[in-house]
């Protein structure tokens, strides 16, 4: 008996595996899910999502979204999701710097400020996850 983890994004199904544990960045702090977790639904921050399977950790960079747990099934509706190994560190760094520069040009009243700041946080999350 194990947890089933599904990660889906608008562009594709990223992952569907049996795991022992999931750790995710909730909006109210990081949390872990193991077998027989209570039914739970939360929004996710951009950050690192980790699952443990057979003692091995696998890392993913998720760009915000939702996670729900019910009946030992974990469903992640992520805006973006990439395996740590698939991220190009150089490109991630460049994307992060570009987004940061663009954000600095905007004030909080500007239209697109929140979108841009979300982009910065997503890029930052990718960069940290790729860094390992």
């Amino acid at each position: 008996m194990a947890l089933t983890l599904d990660i889906v994004t608008p562009e594709k199904r990223v992952l569907s595996v049996q795991v022992d544990e999931v750790r995710a960045p909730g909006v109210q702090g990081g949390f872990g899910v193991r077998l027989n977790h209570e039914p739970f639904m939360t929004a996710l921050e951009p950050g690192r999502l980790t699952y443990v399977e057979g003692g091995r950790e696998h890392h993913y960079a998720v760009g915000g979204g939702f996670l729900q747990v019910a009946d030992n099934r974990v469903i992640v509706l992520a805006d973006t999701a990439e395996a740590a190994g698939e991220i190009d560190v150089e490109r991630a760094r460049k994307a992060f710097e570009d987004a940061q520069n663009r954000l600095l040009q905007l004030t909080e009243q500007d239209e697109g400020h929140s979108a841009e700041s979300a982009r910065v946080r997503r890029a930052a999350a990718r960069l940290t996850v790729a860094g390992r």
Partner: protein
Amino acid sequence: MPSLRDIRNRIGSVRSTRQITKAMKMVSAAKLRRAQDAVLKTRPYAILLDQTLSRLAARAAAEEQVAHPLLAPRDQRTAEVVVVTSDRGLAGGFNSNICRFVQRFLTENGDRFERIALSTVGKKGREYFKARKLDIRKDYTGIHANLAYEKAEALAREATERYLAGEVDTVFLAYNEFKSAISQKPVVVQLLPIDTSAAAADTAGIDFRYEPSREALLAELLPRHVAMQVWRALLESAASEHGARMSAMESATKNAEEMIASLSLQYNRARQAYVTKELMEIVGGAEALK
């Protein structure tokens, strides 16, 4: 009677046309496969998102809570139609079908609204409505060149913001729905306010713990639902476009082949006539010498 050389030249030109249409057909077939694949890939997310949404919305409705503004219909005085067309032509009736469809929609619904604004995605739609002197509120360009979810999200966000600011009371999305490689159907769907009546109410009632709160989750989910609808429309339209172009190019190739066949026949007849005429002249000449 065209000369032998004229016919030969025409055959040559039709042949090269056939080659081009044939190549375009192959390219479209390959692109169609990829586009279809992209549509299928969005399914898991779309299904799970709808499921989650109806769970949240049904529960909110059951407890008679204040609905989210994106869910609440209001007096509909102004509307906006976003038309999805393609950037490129040579796709049979793909663009004109959807444009005519939208024009009919505008006339039919003219009485329902004080004002209907029009936005276009794709060059062909812009050209069509511009030629008919209709005002285009916004032309979203460069969406097809590099189709990505982010662009759908941006379009959806703008529509949502305009809706929430009260600039528009309802937003429709018009696009070619992908039926099969050879058939597309122009459709108009209501993007805003979100219509959840169709969503199967999931009252199975798992008692979730919500973080930060159910209302906050709903507020996060709804914009994604809107973005997903836009994204699906863009992908369906892309698949339809390639399908339409493929069949248009297939019939163009067939027509070229028929034309080549009839021109060849004409060519051979003309040549035969020419040979016969030469022979007659020779025979006539020989006869005269006797």
